[in-house]
């Protein structure tokens, strides 16, 4: 379970995220939807502990992580998949996975064999440098790296950005699988169709504030979706 309470983020003097609060239960997916510049990335990075200008409470699976440095949050089950399929380009695929492997012990553990089952393509590339992979392959690797930490909570920042439709489908299928294992997912997307297909609820943000939270089924043709995303 992820609980965020009163998250505020500032870059120096400029206040970007205002009082973001949300709860994502085990096996639940919350989509965070908003236009470019609305504050989705900043919200996610604020939760990870990577931004010095973030304040507010972050609780993962009952553990209050407020004030913890990012690496400690990750080790205790909070995984972050940044936008742009970020990997370590000068490390091999295997190294990109090993570097994230610090089993937190309880229950279901991810390892490379499971990753190869999920993405057979990555196994055949395992000794290649990540920098030489295609965008889709790097996205698989970015998600796999997050999984290697055995997360309870995953924060994904536009994981389908720039991917071919068939890969968008496989990311959506993967998110559905993860959900069924009990992971809490917070999914920032501009691709609202895909996001609303896999999410249970959607939080709409505009200029750094949540303006509405709706069940996914009602969000699909809501007034707020049209107004905020201009669709």
């Amino acid at each position: 379970m992820l609980k965020v309470d009163g998250l505020n983020v500032r870059y120096g003097k400029s206040h970007v995220v205002f009082d973001f609060s949300a709860e994502v239960k085990d096996g639940e997916t919350l989509a965070v939807l908003g236009r470019n510049g609305a504050g989705k990335t900043t919200t996610i990075r604020g939760i990870t502990g990577l931004l010095p200008g973030a304040s507010g409470r972050v609780i993962v699976g009952g553990t209050d992580m407020s004030g913890w440095p990012a690496h400690r949050r990750t080790r205790r089950g909070l995984a972050y998949v940044p936008s742009g399929a970020r990997c370590f380009p000068n490390l091999t695929v295997v190294e990109n996975l090993d570097i994230a492997s610090h089993a937190n012990g309880d229950g279901w553990t991810w390892n490379k064999d499971r990753i190869w089952e999920l993405f057979p393509r990555l196994e055949s590339l395992r000794h290649n440098l990540a920098g030489g992979l295609s965008g889709g392959e790097r996205q698989m690797l970015a998600v796999s790296r997050a999984l290697m930490g055995n997360p309870r909570v995953m924060l994904l920042d536009e994981p389908t950005e720039g991917l071919a439709p068939v890969l968008v489908q496989s990311i959506a299928a993967l998110l559905a699988t993860l959900k069924s294992t009990g992971v809490s997912i917070l999914l920032a997307e501009q691709n609202h169709q895909m996001a609303l297909r896999v999410a249970d609820r959607a939080a709409f943000i505009e200029k750094g504030r949540i303006v509405e939270v709706l069940p996914a089924s009602r969000a699909r043709d809501s007034e707020v979706l049209h107004r905020i995303l201009g669709v």
């Binding site: 690496h71 940044p82 370590f88 380009p89 490390l91 570097i99 930490g149």
Partner: protein, 292 residues
């Protein structure tokens, strides 16, 4: 030049390259991971050289030197750790100029401290491996050959650390994306301290190993720093292979430059002419990667 002389000056060049490589590798390792040019790198080298000389002369050349070397490397590493925590942590992510000034300030403090503690006189220490090898009419100090072998072992050790251990994998990851590394569960703050301590330890190792073959005085910090920079520029900052190749070039140029009468006055100038040429033709150095 006779073949015997060529061999003599080649070995001279290799022993120059040996200690210079150890020092430059530390500078390069720190720059690669932390993106900080450490102006105090030569200071750590100098401190280690003095510590080695003092301990070795107290305890007697044989065992005293090896004990001195261990203590000197530990002292250099420890001072490096303190400098990282107190100085560098405040300047990461700032402009290179701020970092240069910060570490330059440390080098001035050390230079002043060394002059107060050890005085202005040059000091020497007897070689811990006396004896020599006669070959083709010339005699080679056993210690020079030891230095060359030592540098090869240390180079292999650094390479193995970087490419065959988890620590090295994390260092390589920090070179490309420290932010992502943090979010992957690695304590990057602690990793930076570790890298800086290793870099400082290499500076110390260089200073300690060179002590029996050169006079140790309070200006060797800048002497070695200037050469280590030239090596890093030629080989490419951040690349261990580049440090080795750069050290070989600089070591050989100095050795041959000094013995040929016509080039003797310009031997050091040649190093910087080559450095300038590399900067013009290939600004990132022979083995460096462009800064992203």
């Amino acid at each position: 030049m006779t073949p015997g002389q060529v061999l003599l000056f080649t070995v001279g060049g290799l022993s120059n390259a040996a200690y210079l490589f150890i020092v430059a590798a530390g500078l390069s390792l720190v720059f690669g991971a932390l993106r900080v040019i450490n102006m105090a790198h030569g200071s750590l080298y100098m401190i280690a050289a003095f510590v080695t000389v003092v301990i070795a002369n107290q305890l007697g050349a044989g065992l005293g030197f090896w004990g001195g070397l261990l203590v000197a490397v530990a002292v250099a590493g420890a001072i490096g750790g303190v400098v990282e925590v107190l100085v560098l942590r405040r300047v990461y992510g700032r402009e290179h100029l701020v970092q240069l000034l910060g570490t330059y300030a440390v080098s001035l403090v050390v230079a002043g401290g060394v002059r107060i503690v050890f005085g202005p006189n040059y000091r020497t220490v007897a070689s811990p491996i006396p004896g020599h090898l006669d070959l083709a009419g010339y005699s080679y100090a056993s210690y020079s050959l030891f230095m060359i072998a030592g540098a090869i072992v240390i180079g292999a050790g650094v390479w193995t650390m970087l490419y065959r251990t988890n620590l090295g994998r994390n260092i390589r990851a920090a070179v490309s994306d420290p932010d992502l590394l943090n979010a992957t569960g690695v304590n990057v703050t602690r990793l930076y301290t570790t890298v800086f301590v290793i870099g400082a330890g290499l500076a110390g190792l260089g200073g300690s190993i060179v002590a029996p073959s050169q006079a140790v005085g309070s200006s060797i910090d800048t002497d070695v720093l200037v050469l280590a920079f030239a090596i890093s520029v030629i080989g490419g900052l951040g690349s261990i292979v580049g440090s080795a190749v750069g050290a070989l070039i600089v070591g050989m140029v100095i050795s041959f430059g000094l013995v040929i009468p016509q080039t003797n006055p310009f031997a050091l100038a040649f190093v910087f002419i080559i450095m300038t040429a590399v900067l013009i033709v290939r600004p990132r150095g022979l083995f460096g990667r462009p800064e992203s």
